[in-house]
């Protein structure tokens, strides 16, 4: 079963004034276990596509299905809950809660999910260990480097056990060493735990690691390239 399906997805901003066609009739499917990059120049619609898939924005036409459920027709409050339970996000600017420690930032999303406290603590520790921040659990974001903050963001995205993770330019603000380190962690999660990652980026360092690359131009899919099949068992 496909994890994500978009059907004739279109998005027009400012339809009544100066229409901007961010997406044009996009039909695409994603399978569990993918490690996929959506690439393209600025304004090509890659971020808009990820926002549609993540339920952060609604299409002008067409629909988005996650494992058969049409999320593009959900109300705002239904979408918020859907995102909480099903989708992980990694943002370009990390967007950690500055008043929380790394541990609290990771466990926060599980608190929102009303998970069991012990399970929550155990999973938080495990994830922070996995992203290599086992010794910085009590550090606040400003005490961490950019790369470390983004690793906390990845741990946070994974904490809710989402069906897939959407990462919008996750390496844009990182130096090469930090970016490679982060990609190593994500790749490992994908390989060992079959976590599905979909990136929106034009960072060649990420594109080189992807097993599937979708190129967008002017809001439409211009090219699809499968370097290797997605992992099985998702």
């Amino acid at each position: 079963m496909k994890i994500i399906t978009t059907e004739n997805l279109s998005k027009v901003y400012n339809p009544d004034t100066v229409p901007v066609h961010a997406l044009r009739d996009v039909n695409i499917e994603f399978e569990p276990g993918e490690f996929t990059v959506v690439r393209g120049p600025s304004g090509s619609g890659k971020t808009t596509l990820l926002n549609m898939i993540g339920g952060l924005d609604k299409p002008t036409e067409g629909r988005v299905l996650i494992e058969g459920t049409t999320i593009s027709e959900m109300s705002d409050s239904e979408l918020i809950n859907y995102r909480l339970q099903n989708i992980g996000f990694v943002f370009q600017h990390y967007n950690l809660i500055p008043v929380f420690s790394a541990r609290e930032n990771v466990s926060f999303i599980m608190l929102l999910q009303k998970r069991d406290k012990k399970e929550m603590q155990k999973r938080t520790d495990k994830l922070l260990d996995e992203v290599g921040l086992g010794d910085r659990k009590d550090a606040r974001p400003k005490q961490l480097s950019g790369g470390q903050q983004q690793r906390v963001a990845v741990a946070r995205a994974l904490a809710s056990e989402p069906r897939f993770i959407l990462a919008d330019e996750p390496t844009a603000n990182l130096d090469t060493e930090s970016a490679m380190n982060l990609l190593d962690i994500m790749e490992k999660m994908n390989r060992e735990e079959n976590v599905t990652f979909i990136f929106s980026t034009h960072d060649q360092r990420v594109i080189d690691r992807a097993r599937r690359v979708i190129t967008m131009v002017d809001g439409a899919i211009a090219k699809e390239e499968n370097k290797s099949p997605p992992l099985k068992g998702g």
Partner: protein
């Protein structure tokens, strides 16, 4: 909820300088506001106590027309059964009959209009504080013939002093003009210059024979064990006794009740004005905080924090900051009031003006638990109102737009 409280509390102190300034403003505003209210309460309370203890007592009994006509002939027709009734009523702590007539005070210097109050020397101290207000000389319990107590003000106006004789002219119960000579035995001073200019005190047994050939009383002042019983006692007396009018202190002086009500209203108005000013401060601070955290709030909505939780989080930030500031302000104010309620606020420099208005120059601030409760309610309402707009603003954030910005 614990999570929301934690994040709200930490968010408040994310910018310690800004929150600290607002916190200090709330503390200072509440402290000053409560102090002003307590001072006003003390002023009103002292004025009320003064009037009740010096002039009104809890209730008074008169001939039905005496208070409007003030003629000597309008005395209480048969005072004995009334005095007996008061004696038997366990709710009545004390009472004092008075013989009253209006007249003129003549001295070698000038003549002035006055009210001559003939009091029962033994019973009067049980219902008024006249004997405590004597500044010089003696009370009326002396061997001097026809003693009179006058105020310092009258003494100054007439250029007389203790031992001097003055002449009092008045109409008797038959409306015949009469006069008598009285010897000044003491001077008194209350906090009301108007009262002092108007009243002289003599013994009822000296005045009554000059008005009538029998002992007559124009007024009986009643002091109760519990002021709360005043309405029941007055209604009971009015029902039982004919040809008299019994009135409560607030019927005798409606303006006093108005003063009391106005005091409460003034407190509310002062606090509402202060809290409105603070509410705009809170609103401004919270809006600044929201604008600085747009991306973070967008992220919270994106990862699945419900709008209700985001709304509550922002509300809590305002409410916690306001309530902690208010609590500190109230504690500081209560300590200050505790000190000043013993020492008093000395306004002697305005003493003359205050005295003209009938107020003491040393005011002892009063703040009851009820008053603190009212302040707390106003604070909570202000905090809620001030936080509504920022909270609404926060939940309208579009995660996509703020991330792109």
């Amino acid at each position: 909820m614990k999570m929301l409280l934690t994040i709200s509390w930490r968010n408040i102190w994310r910018n310690p300088g800004r929150s600290g300034v607002l916190f200090a403003a709330i503390v200072a505003g509440l402290w000053a506001g409560v102090l002003v209210v307590a001072w006003a309460n003390g002023l009103v309370e002292q004025r009320m106590n003064y009037l009740i203890q010096t002039e009104l007592s809890h209730a008074q009994i008169h001939h039905p027309e005496f208070r409007t006509e003030r003629e000597s002939s309008m005395y209480i027709a048969d005072a004995s059964p009334i005095l007996s009734t008061l004696e038997e009523d366990s709710r009545v702590q004390a009472f004092a009959p008075r013989t009253i007539t209006d007249g003129m005070l003549q001295s070698p210097v000038t003549t002035s209009g006055i009210s001559i109050r003939g009091i029962d020397v033994e019973k009067e101290p049980r219902v008024t504080t006249l004997h405590e207000n004597i500044t010089e000389g003696d009370y009326l319990d002396t061997d001097v013939r026809n003693p009179v107590l006058i105020s310092n003000r009258i003494a100054d106006t007439h250029n007389v002093e203790i031992g001097h004789r003055i002449v009092l002219n008045f109409q008797d119960a038959e409306n015949e003009l009469t006069a008598a000579s009285f010897t000044i035995v003491g001077l008194y001073q209350t906090s009301s210059s108007g009262y002092d200019e108007r009243n002289v005190f003599v013994r009822t047994q000296d005045l009554s024979p000059l008005l009538s050939d029998q002992q007559i009383y124009h007024e009986i002042a009643v002091w109760l064990n519990d002021e709360e019983d005043v309405e029941a006692v007055v209604n009971g007396l009015n029902e039982r006794l004919d040809q008299i009018e019994v009135q409560t202190w607030y019927e005798l002086s409606p303006e006093l009740r108005y003063l009391s009500d106005a005091g409460g209203l003034m407190m509310t108005v002062i606090m509402v004005i202060i809290m409105m000013a603070l509410a705009f401060g809170i609103l401004n601070t919270m809006l600044m905080a929201i604008f600085e955290r747009m991306r973070e709030l967008g992220m919270l909505l994106a990862i699945g924090m419900s709008k209700a939780r985001v709304f509550l989080m922002i509300m809590l930030e305002s409410i916690i900051l306001t309530l902690t500031g208010a609590a500190a302000g109230l504690i500081l104010a209560s300590l200050t009031i505790a000190y000043l309620s013993r020492q008093g606020i000395d306004l002697t420099m305005f003493g003359e003006g205050l005295s003209e208005l009938g107020y003491d120059s040393i005011v002892y601030p009063i703040m009851t638990l009820n008053h603190y409760g009212n302040v707390a309610i106003i604070v909570v309402i202000a905090a809620l109102l001030a936080s509504l707009f920022p909270a609404m603003k926060a939940i309208k954030i579009n995660p996509v737009e703020v991330d792109q910005e």
